[in-house]
Assembly symmetry: C2
Amino acid sequence: MKTINIGIIGLGTVGSGVVRILQQHHDDFMRDQDVDLRLVAAASRDASQAETLGITQIFCDDGNAVVNNPEVDIVIELVGGVTFAKELVFAALNAGKSVVTANKALIAAHGHELMELAAHKGVEIAFEASVGGGIPIIGPLRHTLAGNQIRSIIGIVNGTTNYMLTRMRENSLDYAEALKEAQAKGFAEADPTADIEGFDAAAKIAILATIAFNTDVRLDQVSVEGISRLSALDLDYAGEMGYCIKLLAIANRTSDGIDIRVHPAMVPLAHPLASVNGVFNAIYVVGDAVGDTMFFGEGAGSGPAASSVVGDLIEVGRHLAYRESITQPVWDTESLPIKPIDELETSYYLRLSVPDRPGVLATTAQIFAQHNVSIYSMVQPGTHASSTELVCVTHVARESDMLAALAEIRAANVVLSEPVLIRVQGDAI
Amino acid sequence: MKTINIGIIGLGTVGSGVVRILQQHHDDFMRDQDVDLRLVAAASRDASQAETLGITQIFCDDGNAVVNNPEVDIVIELVGGVTFAKELVFAALNAGKSVVTANKALIAAHGHELMELAAHKGVEIAFEASVGGGIPIIGPLRHTLAGNQIRSIIGIVNGTTNYMLTRMRENSLDYAEALKEAQAKGFAEADPTADIEGFDAAAKIAILATIAFNTDVRLDQVSVEGISRLSALDLDYAGEMGYCIKLLAIANRTSDGIDIRVHPAMVPLAHPLASVNGVFNAIYVVGDAVGDTMFFGEGAGSGPAASSVVGDLIEVGRHLAYRESITQPVWDTESLPIKPIDELETSYYLRLSVPDRPGVLATTAQIFAQHNVSIYSMVQPGTHASSTELVCVTHVARESDMLAALAEIRAANVVLSEPVLIRVQGDAI
């Protein structure tokens, strides 16, 4: 049996989970996978983590020492971010070591360079844990579904916001209350910006789109809108109309290029994604042969993310142990354009706070009509003193038309506060 | 770029789908996968299929000729069954060719021998399409989830019966009507025995259990019960109690061995499997690190099954083209015992048709008590002339006790027809 030596950098939530799995299942992996995966080096900023895990004898406080350790065959990078982690991963690949990482930001920003460098050095970089925590998705897209032209990926890939939206809907919490609760439970960080503004989901959909469409999609090419402008009111109205609101990460292959975006969306209650609640994640994939599929599971946490890291580790370890040459995974073999979000065609949910006086509805309706936005349904669910809520759902309209109509409505002084606009996830799913 | 030559045997629904994908995406696979997958030989009993597909120039009517064709590197076996298909697959492996198959019966009956022979010959046998149609499940279990000890697999893996149960519930069709409709729509075969009696699902769960638990589980070790004794009445009562009835294929790793069975089960409506309707399949997997995951998609049909066959084909083709030695997939590295179904502990739904006279309820309750079966709830939903329905749900009881109680109830002449017993899928999921 061959021995593969492993160095790990980062012993936080995920790193500790990885070490525990390797400790608990080391002998199982020897028996079942025919490879001796031996942890020989570990680094983190906090030595007490190594003590808790009982690995002080292989611990050091310098990630570079792990990368430069001549014994180490595979480096597990769980530092996160695109500064120190980037240095470590490039250094490891340059030193001819394979890398396993959960770093979505790094892959979304530098995937192309990293894959090229790995190919050049004849090693591997694996990152199943970067998207969807424990959910197998990168592996299935690359292998089992490789016979398909992937048409569409629609993911609930951020557990923090999905937890908040679930609580807002089920318990009528408002946004601020839901955020506070998520922070108290450890589901949201002290600075929750990356999650609630959609950047975390954007990095993940950029990675999935790159793999599914074989074209390089970078984080800065994703149109992003978070959930911070939603209120419990919108979730209630959505429910009355047979929808729930989810933060969706969407990538569609269209004849005009890749349509890629993250935003809150109205999801029909009968859709499989509508019942994905709490911190669970799910990724809905449509392929030309396979049809509709969905992958569901825990998107974060020590166990699930560590499961994906160790899955990659076993795979890369077996490759190193048992084959002469590395089968290069596919990266961006095509160069597809990104479709500007202005050109999106979808229907919209729109909530306007308008003064309770005659003529407002007529003015609003006229402005929409002038911009080719056709109203499918409109209700005035409640009146509060001098204002009233106007809730509309439109037929399919062009995003640029909708935005122009909204600009004119703002200018016409018929709205009392910033309109709430939510795209409806319709026929596409 | 390397060329891999492919021979296909069987040009029915799945085979035609495979040929069409290869025709349509051949150039995409060259660009994206760096391998030229060339179909060089095809066989089936019906030459007209080859004409429809435009491949008469590579067609012959003898599967053996495809296996013996010296040009062929990979044989795709889509004949099905365990007679001629078995000969073909063993002959191909013996000739040093890799095999891709969708043949669940063959893998469930001869997996061990086939894996050993492939290992001995340094080739591969791949069978993702044998379970769950287009749903990636064997790949994820083998790779992404390999870091887990898998605790439980619960699958809806037979589209025919799931379609029938969905129609029975949603439209109150009775069993015979649902079967007739499924046959008319092509979802059930003229002889539907393998589907409705659970044998198809049993082969699939035997394969999944073998891979998930690394232990050889054969078809004849699976306890099997089909759906033919269910009536629309049971689906109605289930709905009233907050359940739906699904034909589940279940495999649990327990301290007493592998608990493996196929039977109709009451599934709580809030469970993700409860909303898997029509011909869709889903496989729920619980691992010690990953927690709960679910894989959902179309379980049958030309496109989905062909998607999995072509996924395997690309994988095996890339292995052949780009690496020197084959990384052996894991098969039965452990020898775990099978837990007898008599020892199962679960709660039960039970419907008894009893005469409408005093004392019947007392007699029944007493018999249950004598056999340690404790009633959780009991209702008498309706009275029809001289008989009445008695519907109970029990606390967790031992299967052997429940069967003994039922035998005594039959002997006591308090039931007018054969009792309907359905296991409740409880805490385990």
